[in-house]
Assembly symmetry: D2
Homo-oligomer: 94 residues x 4
């Protein structure tokens, strides 16, 4: 149980849209679109990706972290939370 099975179709739809946006960026470069407009589109794609990441993270805390907390296995809790914090750090830094 990975925690995001409920919204799987939703994530797939969002990622397909992001894939289309990345192809759109290739077209923009190909057609010599004005730099600033390409940058605006890159910011939009980055935001869409981060929104997928935040959704996955919410479900991860809701399922994996909460399950671990209920397990009475302090080592497992520690592992799962340390892992989550590092993932959040990578998101904040990227």
């Amino acid at each position: 149980m990975r925690g995001y099975s409920i919204g799987k179709d939703d994530y797939q739809a969002r990622l397909r849209r992001i894939e289309g946006q990345v192809r759109g960026l290739q077209r923009m470069i190909d057609e010599d679109t004005y730099c600033i407009d390409v940058l605006t589109q890159i910011s939009a794609v980055t935001k869409a990706l981060q929104s997928v990441a935040l959704g996955l993270l919410d479900e991860h805390v809701r399922h994996c972290v909460a399950d671990a907390a209920r397990s009475d296995d302090p080592e497992r809790v520690d592992t799962v939370i340390t892992e989550a914090t590092k993932a959040i750090e990578r998101l904040v830094r990227s």
Copy 2:
């Protein structure tokens, strides 16, 4: 002259790789890959996109902003720089 004509092939290659990474994310979701690994991959894609954006921005300042500065048209300089600052702000905030 859009400013990024020199590195066009390089940008296209990088964006094709990013497109492949986004398809890889869809596969990861499909195969119920562990959340944290999906998040790590999303951070990698975000970094790759930001790196394309920083490259485009560098060339934009190098060409469009520098050209405007040499034009002796203060209004054009102002427009181009305000536009660049706003693009930087969107990148920093995204």
Copy 3:
């Protein structure tokens, strides 16, 4: 129990250092320090602040979220996790 009582002194020490860095920025502006050096210092202060935030967030998940998960009160779990996700979102977006 706020979750960060253990490391309170450590947080205070880090925040005092950040306060000193912000005063340093005022001195830099006052002495007409080269822009790029001021910007480098601002990036350092931002990173230091984010590092405090990530530490607090780790402890928050470790204590408040884990406690809620053990409480068998689904509404409380939902409230606490939604709140944490929104805080992460603000960090990622800022």
Copy 4:
């Protein structure tokens, strides 16, 4: 001429406010304020710092970069723009 002499008082006022906010964070930790509220305040301080950085960067491009562009010294232009791009990269990554 550092480029930000015009708005110097404004920058100082903003940095003094940020210094006050950082002292406020110390008080919040001292009074065991709820984690999430501390995190919200950290996001506000980070945004305020980034806003100072974006202002400085705008003026830097407007003055130093534009001056370099007008200098007919390609090496100087290259140095100044490479330096600005790296500062932007540090801001985006922090």
